[in-house]
Symmetry: C2
Subunit: 369 residues, 2 copies
């Protein structure tokens, strides 16, 4: 195999596929990237069996071929080489030579026999959205997933398609995050649960483009994300996701409208006094035109007042401040509406257009001065 490729292109391709290289593994082949050069270009593939990524880049291929190379050191070498062309050659004994100018690295490649290729998936009835939309919707829901051996579904997110609506849902036992997107076309109904790890990886390699598309294909066992010249294939979680519809209600006794930035900054200060394992709640006291916020912890105390608009009853209610903080960070709107029933019932944070619903369970608290 012989090809030349721009350093920056090679480095970007390795950054993309490296998300499917496990940090620790006893199977050393999983730490390798498959490099394949042919008329189509140069293809890089990594596959940790849960998640597979491949990406194709342009280069001058002089001699087609295929080899597996340990990704980490290959990537480090590429990064440290000067800007410009990099020349990669592999001889029949699998000696890999990486050259740039008068710099020459030699590594020992691996045979590709042990490497597990990505499954072949037919792209039928794929749904499409912009890369930025998918990136956003992931970051706006992923924080309420949870790795939990006895509740495996909490480690994934529900993706549900119904006509032209794309919905993502995550929950961790204390809160639920729901986001809805409007799609440009209508699609057959679909419902899958995708591991949170995959979604995190996707959102990190997905460009911020509000113009370029990503296409999502569903099979019984896998979900495929195609964008630019990259393909990501993820295993799905097997089983039924939680029935969340019965937890949602639109009754309320108190409605509060608040400036999101002001509340966010205030919550950010609140969490200073909550160290790990210290489950002190923040207590909100909502009255006409004003919400006071208190926290008393072993470290000290914090008080702040924020102007709000209130409808309905006055209310005193306690929350884990981090859960409120996550929700405020996930919303872009300038003002946010909170709906409460009583200090024991879940609070809903939602907009009027049904773009988002964040449900948060309150916590018990004792009234402090």
């Amino acid at each position: 195999m012989k090809f030349t490729c721009e350093k920056q292109i090679l480095s970007n391709a390795l950054t993309i596929v490296s998300r499917a290289i496990p940090v620790k593994t006893t199977m050393s082949i999983l730490q390798c990237v498959l490099v394949e050069a042919n008329a189509e270009g140069i293809r890089f593939t990594a596959n940790d069996m849960e998640l597979g990524i491949e990406t194709v880049v342009e280069g001058q291929v002089e001699e087609p071929g295929i080899v597996a190379i340990e990704e980490k050191i290959f990537h480090e070498i590429v990064r440290k080489l000067p800007e410009g062309e990099i020349r990669l050659t592999v001889d029949p004994s699998l000696k890999v030579t990486i050259q740039s100018g008068r710099s020459k690295f030699n590594l020992i490649g691996r045979s590709t026999e042990e490497f597990t290729y990505l499954p072949t998936v037919e792209r039928i009835d794929s749904i499409r959205m912009t890369q930025l939309s998918l990136k956003n919707v992931i970051s706006q829901t992923i924080f309420s997933t949870k790795n939990d051996e006895t509740n495996k579904m909490m480690g994934g997110e529900l993706i549900q398609i119904d006509q032209d609506t794309f919905k993502m849902v995550s929950l961790d036992g204390h809160r639920i995050s729901i986001r809805r997107l409007h799609l440009a076309s209508s699609y057959a109904p679909r419902k899958v649960v995708v591991p949170a790890k995959t979604l995190d990886d996707i959102s990190r390699i997905l460009p911020d483009s509000a113009e370029n598309q990503v296409s999502l294909t569903f099979t019984g066992k896998h979900m495929v994300f195609d964008f630019d010249r990259t393909t990501v294939i993820s295993r799905l979680l097997e089983g039924e996701f939680y029935a969340i519809d019965q937890m949602l209600s639109s009754d309320f006794e108190t409605k509060m409208t608040i400036n999101r930035h002001e509340f966010l900054d205030c919550l950010d200060r609140t969490t200073l006094l909550v160290k790990e394992n210290d489950k002190k709640p923040v207590i909100l006291n909502i009255t006409d035109e004003q919400m006071s916020l208190k926290i008393r912890s072993t470290i000290g105390s914090f008080d702040e007042e924020i102007e709000v608009e209130k409808q309905g009853k006055d209310l005193m209610i306690g929350f884990n401040p981090r859960f409120l903080l996550d929700a405020m960070r996930a919303i872009e709107d300038e003002t946010v509406d909170f709906y409460f029933v009583n200090p024991k019932a879940p609070c809903f944070i939602k907009d009027t257009e049904d773009k988002y619903i964040y449900l948060i369970l309150p916590v018990n608290f004792t009234v402090v001065d």
Copy 2:
């Protein structure tokens, strides 16, 4: 005590004194910053017994007083408060209230009885240089210090003043770094060994100013650094520093002149193949007009050629590539001169004006193809 102070000023003051707050300690008073408000301003002091720092800032002092506050949480609170004025009050029960706008934090302060104040030092015959000069000379020598229980002097740097010459020296058993600065005035001769930890802390809090001065005062046990409204007092290491003059020689058989940036980039690539505990040397083969550089490790191999100017004999010599890398990073000159005697003798990297000397011991190597 009652005062108000700008958030940014308060935050900077805490960043400065925090270098004298130990990360771990069984004496909780050491984790506190002493806050003292009086007609002079607001003084912050931290002292971990090895290193003491105090800094004074402007503020509106309404009621003088003094209190010790746990530095970490105090600092976090100040950072998270909005820009603008912060009001600090301490009541007779040592309840500390930190307020900004409608945000109010309460912490419990500590009595200052247990706090160890900084020693009083008379500023006699202090030497002066710009803040930038001191910052640079530290970063250009500190990398060859070493924490070593049996060779305690390696954990410090020699500071020697002789007339108008300021010299700093460090060594770790494999290399010596020497830097000389020209001072604006002449001073009485002095020779002290300052802990590397202090020098590292100083260089981090010292501004980059090429105009403002820092003054250095020496006592039998301490060294004092005064700059702007900050004072840093460090304990000195007791004992004699190594006699390095006898290790320096100006004989050479081979002199090589090289482009520093080119060599630096090349060494940077070389170290990719040297993982920790793998002591593979880089082998330099210096011939007329060219140096070839080779490394063979368990990971792979690397070769590069660089144009050089050579006087004297051809030479093949091996080094720990990291030592060469550190020296190349510490020098600012565009081209650098290397002086060699033979493959067993130390190599000298030095300039013609005696600003710097870096001595590096070579390592044994076996000739490879």
